[in-house]
């Protein structure tokens, strides 16, 4: 086989794969732009003849999907921020100091990451019920934070590892305290690692279904992932186009964030997979 033929095969395979991965999203867009009459025409109307934005208007105004979106942003942004803040000191200590017991603790943190939230949500529900803290965004944010901590510790530690110690030693000679060194020198240099941990946590929080589904029941408090599940339960064939619009509304913010920050995210997945 000549390299040119190999190139052609690569292109063919690439195009088929791209089509396979793109089709579900394109179909979703197609459905969300159709009128009910066109939904019933199936694949024959892949490109709607009378495209309409009414479905989105209905979803975003009548159905309070704007509120669900805002809830999701609030929950996952605060959860992600909390995880990074909690993880940073531990990551710094793990990167800079050597002390007895460090290895087991870091392995323990990694093991926590492998525990399904399903296992801990059962007792958490009971604690929060007893404390009267069900139906509270604060509880959900705290759980999101904990879910994000293990990966954040590892990602941020890897980030600190790449910053030369000499910079910190120079600052120490100039009379900076340990805290000043961390705050003024190390943290700004570790910004890319902090940002990728934050973004990865955001994306995981955006996808989170179990935790808010169990801890929240009041409709006005639900994040978008739970809202579309409930909406699907109440929808029928005649509202398929609305469900498609609702799904698209749930998916687009995650896609937009991903497209804007792809490099950071890819690097974070690699560091996460290789180091733990």
């Amino acid at each position: 086989m000549t390299p040119r033929m190999g190139d052609r095969l690569t292109y063919v395979a690439g195009i088929i794969l791209a089509a396979l991965f793109l089709m579900p999203l394109l179909w979703l867009v197609s459905l969300s732009l159709r009128t009910p009459a066109e939904v019933y025409l199936g694949a024959a109307r892949f490109i709607p003849e009378a495209p309409t934005l009414d479905n989105f208007r209905l979803i975003l105004t009548d159905r309070a999907f704007g509120t669900y979106l805002w809830n999701a942003v609030k929950l996952c942004a605060l959860g992600a921020l909390g995880a990074v803040i909690v993880a940073t000191p531990a990551a710094y200590a793990a990167s800079r100091f050597s002390f007895r017991g460090k290895g087991p603790v870091m392995v323990g943190i990694l093991m926590v990451q492998m525990i399904s939230p399903l296992v801990v949500i059962i007792p958490l529900y009971r604690y929060l019920d007893r404390l009267g803290m069900l139906e509270s965004h604060l509880s959900v944010i705290a759980v999101y934070m904990a879910i994000g901590v293990p990966l954040s510790v590892w990602l941020i530690k890897v980030g600190f590892d790449t910053i030369p110690k000499a910079l910190e030693e120079a600052a120490a000679i100039d009379g900076c305290t340990q805290f000043e060194i961390l705050w003024r020198i190390t943290l700004p240099l570790a910004a890319p690692a902090l940002a990728s941990a934050f973004i990865l946590n955001m994306i995981m929080g955006w996808s989170q279904f179990l935790v808010p589904f169990i801890l929240l029941t009041r409709d006005g408090q639900l994040p978008i992932a739970v809202a579309i599940y409930n909406f699907a339960g109440s929808s029928s064939a005649s509202t398929t186009q609305l469900l498609a619009a609702a799904c698209l509304v749930a998916v687009v913010p995650a896609l937009a964030a991903f497209l804007a920050l792809q490099r950071l995210i890819v690097r974070a997945i690699m560091a996460g997979a290789v180091k733990g």
């Binding site: 179909w27 710094y92 525990i115 296992v119 901590v149 955006w206 469900l243 995650a254 991903f258 997979a273």
Partner: protein, 291 residues
């Protein structure tokens, strides 16, 4: 080496958060699993009734079989898909072909889609109504429609397809990184010796990427075992129990049947499997590190 105990202060926030949200609840789940508590009633006694009831339940055999099948098919397909795309990307990069970045972006885009949305999107695609995406396409080209979701066997395949569409990106990235780390000299030498691309794949790529394949298969297995939102939104575990996997079964048991003892007994099983896999993963990483 620092001997000062104060070094642990740096870990205090992490310990507090993980202790409160993970360690104490895990201990409690194990305690509940030996108790007769329900979601709303406190513990009145301890015993093995939860385990006995959960493990003697007729449905458990079906659920475990589903879990095994779903996990096996998913892990194999996710990695095959991830590996195929990764190798394609590496080849494209090497030959400076167009559009490789776009392909990577498209595959990754599916990965950020929430599991619930993934299930709902595929429900629309697999819809058996006359206007369902795949079935109406089949009809357009003159083929018979397929019972994607109402036939028990097909429903399992459909769930795996939805899961693979969303999840392949993770394996793709891991394999892409691993493949690029393989020394190109190996391939040059093999070409000089006249080895075919297939032979190079079998005798260089696979052995060189053995570590990544092993690590990735463990990680993907854990991820597959622990998630159920795609299945919940796609089939709800049906038809009947045809796609009900262990995690979905625990979810239903605890939050719909209020059977806390039984649900906890199965949650302990899920936890034990995850932890056993994690220990294997750590042993693999340590061996790799030692070499």
């Amino acid at each position: 080496m620092i001997r000062d105990r104060r070094v642990w202060l740096w870990f205090a926030p992490v310990m507090l958060v993980l202790g409160g949200v993970y360690l104490v609840p895990v201990a409690d789940v194990i305690r509940f699993s030996f108790s007769d508590a329900t979601l709303l009633r406190p513990v009145t006694g301890y015993g093995l009734d939860g385990y006995r009831a959960a493990y003697n339940d007729d449905s458990l055999g079906v659920v475990l079989r589903n879990t095994g099948l779903f996990t096996l098919l998913s892990v194999i397909s996710l990695q095959a898909m991830g590996l195929a795309i990764a190798l394609l990307l590496v080849r494209g990069d090497r030959r400076r072909l167009y559009g490789m970045g776009a392909l990577r972006t498209i595959v990754l885009a599916a990965w950020v889609i929430p599991g619930i949305a993934n299930g709902l999107i595929w429900q629309m695609l697999f819809s058996e109504a006359p206007f369902g995406a795949i079935n109406s396409t089949l009809r357009l080209i003159g083929l018979a429609p397929v019972a994607w979701l109402s036939d028990p066997g097909n429903a399992m395949i459909s769930a795996v397809i939805a899961n693979v569409w969303q999840g392949s990106a993770f394996s793709m990235i891991v394999f892409y990184a691993a493949r690029r780390a393989v020394d190109p000299v190996l391939y040059e030498a093999a070409s000089v010796d006249g080895a075919s691309p297939v032979a190079q794949f079998i005798f260089i790529t696979i052995p060189q990427m053995r570590g990544a394949l092993l690590v990735n298969s463990i990680l993907v297995t854990i991820q597959t075992l622990n998630t159920f939102d795609t299945i919940l939104a796609l089939t709800g575990g049906g038809p009947g129990r045809a796609t009900e996997v262990l995690s979905l079964n625990i979810f239903n048991r605890v939050f719909y049947s209020y059977d806390l003892g039984g649900g906890s007994a199965l949650a302990v099983l899920l936890l034990a499997i995850s932890m056993a896999l994690t220990v294997i993963y750590l042993l693999v990483l340590m061996r790799k590190g030692a070499r």
